[in-house]
Symmetry: C2
């Protein structure tokens, strides 16, 4: 049986511009079904169901996405799916959720989950989540560490206090490391004590609020002054207070400074942050030429391509390692190796004030 | 003043499958405006206007395209735009036109023109057409030879009886040469006496009919038995006779065997048969990265690409030398160097009975 004091906070405020042209302000990565029949946020909820039932899940997102998320997640009470009044990164969002949960349940323990990752080995993952919750009950903040599979420079790392083999035990963290340069990343991976920080944290609401008071006092006091969640004035008060909170991530604001942070060095759970169209390509089944194509597509001398063009005949001829994303109003053609730069195109559209395409 | 006995026959029965997905049975290459504001067949008519006014132009096409051509060429009397009852290559088509013109004007001299080529230097071209008509009045068949710019293996060649510099004089042809292999093509180009056969012929209707009787007697007698063009029975009789004609090109059936064929070795007239999307790319103005893109497209680290995607934002990232053709129901992504093989994709669609895309 799930523990009734365990709550989940799903952080769903990102824009996911690397998934343009399918991702737009109102259809960001987390609500897209890039990998199959359900969206990434629906997958996140399903994956957690046996540990945290939907009625104890909370979602923080932005005003563009809230309606879509409410539609996609009918089992979560709509009032628990909240639009942040301003984009303020993760620290104020987590503080807000901790504030609300603490007022609802003084024994609340929170798990914090990105909305838009995938995890292939769900049963094993749930065991780790249960272990992390248990470890957090003792008053520690607990983070999940993903064994690094390559020297990624796009992720933060966590350094365990001692060399450790993967397992379900929470052991002390020495330090949080921001995104490293390539040389440092290679050293981390060779070292054995460094794990990827996948942005999954666990802690008592009370403990998180205490860390916030210590490290981010302005945000903490703004949140502490809010009326109770049920109050009619709550929404208006939040709209006043939230934009005045610091715009900072929980990693910078709290985790790097908190004492008594522990981590679980996860065994392989098939974690993927689905960071680009190329990640989608790598996660999907391919044909014998290494293509991921719509049904009925035709191709000749073409390999390693990913094409998303719903309802249209796609024909490839003599091309390789391309990403092609076709939508009614925009068409992206990129090399797979430049998939990380798709956000640059979105910046160009912003510079041209093409709000119709954002 | 144009000579009132000079007539034009525009051959517009081709499918142009290399322009899929924009070319379809009802919108083949000749009626597309791949190069600007007018279609290729409209360009052909405009180019000839000062030599052959539209009222003396005839068009032979197929049943799929006739209505569109009638719409595009309102100045040509609709009855002169005829759908061949069956696809029988160029010899029966030219024979049919010669038969009709001979009955209308016993002094008719015909110029025969493909519908779907472009010629940049139109004034110079018209001078050559006038010269060819004059030379044909003496009873010869006259062909225009295009100075070869590279050892093309996709064209036929004409060999002049003697070395010749380009000019407006008709001089004897020794032989018609079918599409050569690469080695032979290189020899032709080095030789100086070989010119590309661009499919433009001139001759008295009477002379062409005589050659047809000699070289293709079945077709000649089937056509000779037709009622006069004005007769109500003409259409039905043609529907019976035409499918029984030989399916053969004028080159094979007549030109290779005819005596007294002369040619004009054209100076450079900017002729292009617009044989593929790559030819379109090469004919259009490019941006500084060598791209031909729709207005407002955005690109980064992309060069040498041709994109046709009307009304849609196009974004290119890290890709080069691609052909991308987007239509409401089909999307082609090809390398420029494989543009000649686009017809292979059309064959795949035929094999799958995808008539909706043909």
């Amino acid at each position: 049986m799930p523990n009734p004091h365990h709550y989940g906070l799903i952080l769903a405020g990102g824009r996911g511009t690397r998934f343009w042209p399918r991702s737009r302000r109102r259809s960001a990565k987390q609500v897209l079904n890039v990998l199959g029949s359900r969206s990434l946020i629906q997958g996140t909820v399903e994956r957690l169901r046996a540990v945290i039932p939907p009625e104890r899940l909370w979602v923080l997102t932005n005003g563009y996405l809230r309606d879509e998320i409410v539609k996609q997640l009918p089992e979560i009470p709509a009032r628990q799916i909240m639009a942040e009044p301003a984009q303020r990164n993760t620290a104020p969002a987590i503080g807000l959720a901790a504030h609300i949960l603490q007022s609802i349940d003084p024994d609340a323990v929170m798990g914090i989950f990105p909305a838009d990752h995938v995890i292939a080995k769900e049963a094993r993952y749930r065991q780790l989540v249960r272990s992390a919750f248990r470890a957090a009950e003792s008053g520690r903040i607990v983070v999940l560490g993903i064994p690094p599979r390559w020297p990624e420079t796009g992720y933060g790392y966590i350094e365990f206090a001692r060399g450790t083999a993967p397992g379900a035990q929470a052991i002390p963290i020495r330090r949080f490391k921001e995104k490293p340069d390539a040389r440092t990343a290679r050293r981390y991976v060779a070292h054995g004590r460094f794990y990827w920080n996948a942005g999954m944290f666990f802690g008592r609401a009370r403990v998180l609020l205490g860390e916030l008071r210590r490290n981010l006092p302005r945000t903490a006091s703004l949140l502490a002054a809010l009326p109770v969640f049920d109050d009619d004035e709550f929404g208006a008060a939040l709209g006043q207070a939230f934009p005045r909170c610091e715009n900072i991530s929980i990693d910078y604001a709290v985790m790097e400074k908190a004492s008594g942070v522990a981590g679980i060095a996860c065994p392989e759970i098939g974690w993927n942050d689905v960071g680009s169209w190329n990640a989608v390509y790598e996660l999907l089944p391919r044909d014998r030429d290494g293509n991921v194509l719509p049904k009925e597509a035709i191709s000749q001398a073409a390999g390693g391509n990913y094409v998303d063009a719903a309802g249209k005949m796609v024909a490839l001829l003599g091309v390789s390692n391309l990403i092609v994303i076709d939508t009614p109003d925009a068409l992206l053609v990129a090399s797979r190796e430049s998939a990380q730069q798709v956000g640059d195109l979105v910046k160009m559209l912003e510079a041209r004030h093409r709000d119709d395409l954002l």
